[in-house]
């Protein structure tokens, strides 16, 4: 077969090993899991690993103030200010609606997230100006939390713009701690890939695990693996299998 797949390496310890070398370029990947599972950290780790290797990126923040995002990343030693100043990293502020002193210093602000069109316009601008190759949206669930009927359509619109502009993207999908799904049928089937993070209690002990459920365009590892969150980010034990009786 003469067809070669272009891959984007995550450079997260252990993750590329699960993906046959990396994520097929332009794939829109759902990062899903309950609260406290590490979705945001994994996604920020993915972006920062690109930045230090010369790949520009965009982080769309719907859950936290941009100031808080920079601070949170810094706790892992990921200093993004330098890259912002170089025009290689952008935070799209879809949190403050532009209200507040700190918000006035942000370059990419979405006035209303109820207007998906405006959100997409700002994201497009940020991608083009930074020439971003990696994008994270944290989270997409926020966009349709109270309107599940529009979930699929929203993801589809994002997919068209993100894939169309050539980026490889992570879409964070929040599920409830008791839910074993990935965010609903509209979201699960629309995504090119699904990576699930879990935090489960066994015998009074919380354990972290990760599994690649789906990845279009490539073979991928078919096992669940333990992982840790350290002060340097995510470490996946790709050579260990996490055996569970759940799902």
């Amino acid at each position: 077969m003469s067809f070669t797949i272009e891959r984007v390496k995550t450079w997260i310890p252990g993750l590329d090993e699960l993906l046959n070398g990396g994520i097929p370029k332009r794939n829109v990947v759902i990062i899903t899991g309950g609260p406290g599972t590490g979705k945001t950290i994994l996604s920020q780790h993915f972006l920062y690993n690109g930045l230090v290797r010369g790949e520009a990126s965009v982080y769309v923040s719907l859950e936290e103030h941009p100031v808080q995002v920079r601070r949170a990343m810094a706790t892992f030693g990921w200093d993004v200010k330098k890259f912002e100043e170089e025009g290689k990293f952008a935070i799209v502020d879809a949190f403050t609606s532009g209200i507040g002193e700190a918000a006035k210093r942000e370059k990419y602000v979405v006035k209303s997230v109820d207007d998906v069109g405006e959100l997409i316009d700002v994201i497009r601008m940020a991608i083009k100006e930074t020439n971003a190759q990696r994008v994270v949206i944290d989270s997409v669930s926020t966009l349709y939390m109270t309107k599940p009927a529009i979930a699929r359509n929203t993801v589809m619109q994002l997919k068209r713009i993100l894939s169309g502009l050539g980026t490889t993207s992570f879409l964070i999908s929040q599920v409830s701690v008791t839910e074993r799904g990935f965010g609903g049928p509209g979201v699960e089937h629309a995504a090119d890939g699904i990576i699930r993070l879990d935090l489960d209690e066994y015998d009074g002990q919380l354990l972290r695990s990760i599994i690649v459920w789906k990845m279009r365009g490539t073979a991928h590892d078919m096992r669940r693996h333990p992982f840790d969150i350290t002060d340097k980010g995510i470490i996946i034990y790709h050579d260990k299998v996490f055996k569970s009786h759940v799902m």
Copy 2:
């Protein structure tokens, strides 16, 4: 009994063995399963196997851009462009609504999938012009995802046109990862056949299996079998039984 059933061979390794030789002609078969189970690949494999043996076919794309469909098929070595040029293969673009440069090059475009009548008109035209014998609709779930009350009626309308024009068709029905059903009572009972693909986790390992739940007009295999997705498509291990404790 003087009555002989006309069968359509899938030529997918192991599948015809489960179907007593093939799918009874004109049957409308639901291909159902959760995200990442391989429904699209199985359906594209079914079409391509017909094309190389001289049977024209139509692929109705509601989930992906036609350009992406061609690219995805090519990763399995299934080059459909040749057949499109010969007028033996058509992609019905029910994804772009005709918006975008690439879409302008598509021949069969559905402006609005909310209008099932328009969708059916375009499908009918594509079938007649290619003289298609095989049709895939990927997916029907999209047509009634937010309107379950119309599910049965939509499937019934498609069934009349697809069966009426003499084609044998696969309708992809997306279910959530946690759902054990096939897409709801209206869909399950309306279909002539149901083939279920599963992806289940056992002891930290994802395993694929397939079962023919129903096939009107023929006896069929009554066991669950393991299968693989390779770089050449689907391989079903029809002589191995997949024993599970699920469902």
Copy 3:
């Protein structure tokens, strides 16, 4: 007790043995089960067995084109055309709404199934003109699928006319593959009898079973039995018990 029950034999191998000789005359019996369980075949077998023994019958088709019904019955060697020509068998076409060339050749056509009154009028006429003693409605679920509130009332209206005209009838009730009920409380309690068909997976193997859950006016077998669908129709192994852990 001087009271003697008049019974209608099904002549389906093994079934009358479960019913203490047959179905009490005028009973309205729900035939229920998931997709692919054989409800339609059992019901058609019931009608054809009457036809060849001189009992006229009516088949009300809400799921398939009458042409398709005749063809499907023929695959089991049940040629109903002869009986239609003799005026002893009638198909009520509640599928096409009278649209299409083939439909114009049908004698009993229901224009709109949303109008239960019209449906009942056509059924009454077909029963009277054929002097039918057996009736099948395939399926009643279709009549209230999106309107569960009218389920009981619809079944009650059918019961009055079917029982009032002296026929013994099968009403097919479709349930989802995951549902263990019989079609909802309104339907379950209104029926004179309930026969349940099941298709369950055990260790990767699909198995068929049948159980008579309820039959007014007679004692009946209280066990679950395996059955097969052969190219001659249904065979029930009335002397074998199907042991399960379900329900």
Copy 4:
């Protein structure tokens, strides 16, 4: 304690033994269970046993034609016509709405069951004219099947009139085959007593059992017992315990 409870004997074999001698007079007792469990037969048996011992009674029929009720009771050897002619038994026809030839011969007809006031007026008249001491309403579920919000209020209204007129009554509450409740919180708590009939499958065998869940004004048996439906009615094996793992 100087207080003596007046009891109404059911004279159903084995049942009074479970009730410390009988049902406290004026109690309104819910008879509940799934389809085919024998609720109607138990209730008719209760009435007939009173009739032959000189206690007048009223049967309110919401599910069957009065003609059918008489016929069904006759299959157990319970000939009620004699008692109707003597003015000691009355069937309240809440089924036909007074439509049809046979209905014109009925004395107590409820035109519309949507009007609980009218139903109660007719029941009151029937009780007063027959001087009834036992009443059965078959079923109360029908009165609020599609309007659960009015369930408690309906039962409360019936309770006031039935208890107020000094009758001891059975209210049949239909539940779905898969439901382990007794008809909803409004009904369960409003009733003076709850007797549950069950039909469960164990190892492919249907088994009948009965349990008195609640009976105000008296101690009662606290065990589940097997029972049979014979051609002479209900027989409860009050000295055998039915052990199950359900509920």
Copy 5:
């Protein structure tokens, strides 16, 4: 710690032992359980034990006619008429709406329970005139059965008046036989205490048990105990533990 808790003894055999001596004064305690669990008897026992020791009390009846309440209490030897004549006991009639001859003899009548304001006014008057220290509302569930959105608010309003007037009160919360909760989050969290009564079937035998789930202002027993309903009321076996596998 100089703070001493004032306690109200229930004088129900075994109950004060579970409550470290009694219920903290002014507490509003939910008595919850399915049908037939003994909620009403426990509550009436609580009131009567106060009456014979000189503590006035009020019983708010939403489920039964006041005449029936007096009669039911008398079956346990609890003659409340004497206390009513002495002005030390009052039944608030929230059942008859003042309709009927017997109701005209009642002193405290609530015309409409849909008007919580009126209910509260009548309760306040009854408490003040009797100088009640104990109050039972049987049941609060009735007040919001069909309007769950107002449950918390209703309980909050009652809590303010009952606690504000210095009474210690039992609010009966009816749950369905299959529900393991206590009446919904609004009710469970608003109450100062929760006492749960259960009736469960084990091996064909109904068993009664009680557990104090919560009691603000005091330590309490943390075990489930068996109890009986005798002809003298409730007896709790506080030194026996009821081991179950439920909840």
Copy 6:
């Protein structure tokens, strides 16, 4: 890494040990659990421990009268009046709506909790005037109990003001006794931390346990621990693991 996290010690025996020394400053922490689990006591303990060490604090009371809050805290020996007089502690009365004599003596009163804007204004004023560093809202569930669609937005608004003013806060989230979640996806994901309290029955015995499910900005203990409520408040056995089979 040059970045140092500022931590707020809870000084609750055993809790700081689970939090790697304390809660990261400005974190908004959900305290969640069923009725009777000790959420309010834990939160009041957190505040009082700050008060005696010189940290001002605010308690927002939506469930109880401020008078009752002071009284309840006093039962643990936590006398807050002194601190109120010194202007170091404030109770925001979001319970009485300013109605009643006692309420008139309260300084911080919220007229209507339906108006989140007013609530936030009063909280801001109380924080500023006391210079509070710790805040408890008991409970946030009350704010959206009947309006789940606004849950996330309400928590987000509170988070902005509480974190923005530099306080470290506990938000009490009430869940039903049968619910294993933390208050819904909108709440679970918006919070910086989640501490879950449980009360579960094992073999007839109620047992208390606590687990830190999530805490942004710090590593934390990953085990479930038993804890007690004593007359001096909460004691967590941080060196014992509570093994369960739940969740």
